[in-house]
């Protein structure tokens, strides 16, 4: 378990692990959704979608209907995901070239994209590709296409940095991936929606209070409802 919150807040609660964050988000993905999962905590979501629910996972490198990692003796060495790990193709899956893959992404055909992030702002701004405007070799990959193109963007991330700074911001100070796109955030401490009025807390980690969460969160928080 990665513990990033100040001790007084932590003492009172049991933060979710990375796997629990992924599992919590997976429960909210409806049957029939077409979904892209970013690298980091988001790829773990695939392992936690309920078995009775059909969700189709896309990988930006031209895979629609991505399945779990193969058994060591069943690897297809030509089949990788965006994180360049070996994966499988489910029955009904298909391959396409990069321009079609990103047409699918940019064209609004994905119901949902689940991404990792460095920072999310209360206006839905997403920063997940560079940590400084002076970064000379930033690696954008498909992040901006996904952020601009999917119908819904959810972010899965630790609530704070390793040094305890809030990743939920009034405004992002890292370079933006896209403005105003994030609809929901799942962290190790809470599940939050982003509304016209900013962050709305939908769920708190076991034992955590709104006041304690606010202590480690830069952006103002309100309970939903």
């Amino acid at each position: 378990m990665n513990v990033n919150v100040s001790t007084n807040v932590l003492a009172a609660c049991k933060p979710w692990t990375r796997i629990e964050i992924a599992a919590r988000a997976a429960r909210d993905i409806p049957e029939g959704y077409y979904v892209n999962l970013g690298i980091g905590i988001p790829v773990l979501v695939a392992d936690h979608i309920p078995a009775d629910r059909e969700v189709v996972i896309q990988s930006e490198n031209g895979v629609l209907g991505m399945g779990p990692a193969p058994a060591p003796d069943r690897i297809n060495p030509w089949l990788i995901n965006a994180g360049k790990q070996y994966v499988t193709l489910v029955a009904g899956g298909s391959y396409m070239h990069h321009a079609d893959s990103f047409a699918l992404i940019r064209g609004g055909h994905l119901d949902l994209c689940v991404l990792g992030a460095f920072q999310v702002a209360e206006n839905g701004d997403l920063a997940n590709w560079a940590t400084s405007a002076k970064d000379t070799t930033p690696a954008v990959g498909g992040a901006m296409d996904l952020a601009a193109g999917a119908k819904k963007i959810w972010v899965l991330m630790e609530h704070t940095t390793k040094s305890g700074e809030s990743r939920l911001k009034r405004r992002c100070d890292y370079p933006l991936t896209a403005p105003g796109v994030v609809k929901r955030v799942y962290t190790n401490l809470a599940v939050l929606d982003i509304s016209e009025e900013g962050f709305l807390v939908r769920e708190l980690a076991p034992g955590l209070t709104l006041e304690a969460l606010q202590e480690v969160t830069e952006a103002p928080l309100r309970m939903a409802n």
């Binding site: 030509w78 360049k84 893959s101 992040a143």
Partner: protein, 227 residues
């Protein structure tokens, strides 16, 4: 008789000039035409601009071309692969220029080039530093940036099967940028694991029709290196 199959790497690389824009297929090491890159190093063309998703892994493929000091500029979406040693060395030494763009924009710019579209508007990168200085226009209330077609002098791609007309198939996710790049260059050279008789490919399953391909080299190397 049309026969695009060449016998040697030297024939495959013939005529590639200094200063060329090279479109290089692959995503990481999957679908990257390693044999053709070796041939390009042997052929000797320099001051190249390379368009590829990544900036090379380890010391082989594109990284080897960088180490040979043949590349002036890299255009890519993700220069940070697991092991971009050759790129970082060349970049820090000031030997190469880097242009980073969103992956989908890169793919679409090449599709546009191959399809006779000089420029297009895209929602990707609006409101970010990658859109700075670019023409912006609103359609139906949403903002888009203008991106121009990205043309190659040469495309080096990897296929699974090929026939003598240059019809190509691909293997799983090794398809990636290869079919798009094949359409966007003046000279497209493919390496293929299998050469099949004309008429053997199912015409319903030909992702790259031969009109986009100029030369095919048979390179039956087996399985790709571990990613």
């Amino acid at each position: 008789m049309i026969n695009k199959i060449v016998k040697t790497l030297a024939e495959a690389m013939a005529g590639i000039r200094d200063g060329s824009v090279i479109l290089l297929g692959g995503f990481g090491s999957i679908g990257l035409p390693y044999a053709l890159v070796d041939g390009l190093i042997e052929q000797g063309a320099k001051d190249l601009t390379v368009v590829a998703n990544n900036a090379g892994v380890g010391r082989t493929g594109l990284a080897k071309l960088l180490d040979a000091n043949r590349v002036r500029k890299i255009i890519c979406s993700y220069p940070r692969t697991s092991d971009p040693v050759a790129f970082l060395e060349a970049y820090r030494a000031g030997r190469i220029e880097l242009e980073v763009m969103p992956q989908g924009t890169m793919a679409e710019r090449m599709r546009a080039a191959g399809a006779g579209i000089p420029a297009f508007y895209t929602p990707t990168s609006v409101g970010t530093k990658l859109a700075e200085g670019k023409e912006e226009r609103a359609f139906a209330g949403r903002k888009y940036v203008l991106e121009e077609a990205l043309y190659g002098d040469v495309a080096l791609i990897e296929a699974w099967e090929a026939d003598r007309w240059g019809n190509l198939t691909y293997q799983s996710s090794a398809r990636n940028f290869n079919p798009v790049m094949a359409t966007a260059a003046k000279l497209t050279v493919a390496q293929a694991q299998h050469i099949v008789e004309l008429g053997a490919l199912d015409p319903e399953q030909v992702p790259t029709p031969g009109i986009f391909v100029d030369r095919v080299l048979h390179v039956p190397y087996g399985e790709p290196a571990v990613t």
